[in-house]
Amino acid sequence: MTILSSENLILASEDDVMLARRKVRLLAETLGFDPFTVAAITTATSELCRNVCVHAVKGTARLEQIGSGGRTGIRLEVRDEGPGIADIDRVLSAGQRSVGSLGLGLSGSRRLADEFRIETIVGRGTVVTVVKWKRPA
């Protein structure tokens, strides 16, 4: 896997979240992602970056254009040094059974992404990484 471009973003306010999702949308559109894939990665960005501001006050994001075996993709890594998530399994299973459940940010982002990884340590912080690949034309 190759990293073709990389940009670091600060996440500390609603404005930062808005900016992050605009940047992700622009990158996805520039790379020729189809509208459904653009919406998926933009929405996941919104969820993950909002979580940082709401639950960890502040953090950072790294937005990368990546390539692998002829495919083009976007990778977003969102990182904070907030409280971490104790019951991560329960949080990730939200919306599976439940009707109209609350808290679809993380579980929904996992469903929208092609690849999803979360590392969280209570009292230390959380790192979530999502990858979305451009669909073959």
Binding site: E14, D15, T43, S46, A94, R111
Partner: protein
Amino acid sequence: MSAHGSIPVLRIGSTLLASIQVELRDTIADAFQEDILQTIAKTGATGLVIDITGLEMVDSYVARVLTNTGRMATLMGTHAVVVGMQPVVAATLVRMGFRMEGVLTALNVDAGLALVSELIARRHGAGQ
């Protein structure tokens, strides 16, 4: 009439039409919700159509605000319809696992206004 600076709200007969045309930030979504409820109380509007044709992205926070606004209006006694959801928005929300329960939907503003008047008329027994 305007429920919130950035979200125009029109009154059409006894129905309010709110058109969300710009990306909603969280605080504005909350303010919109509360302003709409107060406008319903003030005007006695029996219908509410929320037009989201202009939204290319609706995340779970905004989706919840919209759904809850519809539920709140219903508790107050107003018929609420969300209209104009883009295909990419519908696909994304359902893929995330979101259920917009307790709120009616229609394809566009015209269909939404028609649905609301139909619901109001049916209630009041018009046409009999």
